[in-house]
């Protein structure tokens, strides 16, 4: 999976550089987040701007990250959702669960 992980102060920015976040690669994203949690990094922004397609497994990996971050008193926020990806969050009501920002700058700023 093509992924970019960048520490921005106390927050970690994960850029998913894939066209699809689906049952084929979502477990890799989960694993990446778990190793961040292991290192005590519990504030995460996931930038989905390159992602054109998300399925229920992709959503599941984000929910997993969100729950793990919250359980550790951190947070997981999203940004860069393309319109059709956004619709997926609405269909599954997950837009009420995640804080969603237009871009990574705003998402990162919200942590400070």
């Amino acid at each position: 999976m093509n992924i970019n992980i960048d520490e921005k102060g106390a927050t970690v920015l994960i850029e998913v550089r894939e066209e699809r976040l689906d049952a084929h690669n979502s477990s890799e994203l989960k694993t990446q987040m778990l190793s961040l949690f292991d290192e005590g990094k519990n504030n995460i922004v996931i930038d989905l701007k390159d992602v054109r397609f998300v399925d229920s497994s992709g959503l599941g990996s984000l929910v997993s990250g969100f729950k793990n971050a919250s359980a550790r008193n951190g947070n997981l926020k999203l940004c860069g959702l393309q319109p059709q990806v956004k619709s997926m969050f609405e269909l599954t009501r997950l837009h009420r669960v995640f804080e969603i920002f237009p871009d990574s700058e705003e998402a990162l700023a919200s942590f400070s």
């Binding site: 049952a23 229920s56 599941g60 619709s87 599954t92 009501r93 009420r96």
Partner: protein, 140 residues
């Protein structure tokens, strides 16, 4: 009938082929002659339904053999979209599944709900020693 078409796909039992199957679905959506709605929205929906149903077949109902092929049939018949995904599993009743609990979001359990939100008819039935998930969407 005019403008009917059919694409029958057999690929290895592996998630890396989900993207091929989804893209073929998108290509079909973009080719439909008389569809009045938003073609790009329909393309995403068909991609999604194919991805969800096929990954369920791989995850919940694959045969033991690594070389077993997954079988998917996509057809336009009388301006309706028919998607069938065949598997070697024990079948399940889509109507009996609980809706996801929106108040307490879980990691899994959204696939069939998504399929049912998009398609007009969803039905699982026995066929040659396995099952087929048959999904229909009216396009007119």
């Amino acid at each position: 009938m005019k403008d009917n078409l059919e694409v029958d796909i057999k690929v290895p039992n592996q998630t890396r082929y989900l993207s091929l199957i989804g893209k073929i679905g998108e290509d079909i959506a973009r080719t439909l002659k008389r569809y009045q709605g938003d073609r790009e929205e329909l393309a995403y929906q068909i991609n999604l339904v194919l991805t969800e149903a096929t990954s369920n077949a791989i995850l919940h109902a694959a045969s033991d053999s690594e070389n077993q092929l997954i079988h998917i049939n996509i057809a336009i018949i009388n301006q309706n979209l028919h998607i069938r995904v065949f598997d070697q599993g024990k079948g399940f009743d889509p109507k009996a599944l609980p809706h996801p609990d929106f108040g307490d979001p879980k990691e899994s359990g959204r696939g069939v709900y998504i399929i049912q939100s998009i398609m007009d008819k969803v039905n699982c039935s026995r066929v040659n020693g396995g099952h087929v998930l048959e999904m229909i969407k009216y396009l007119h």
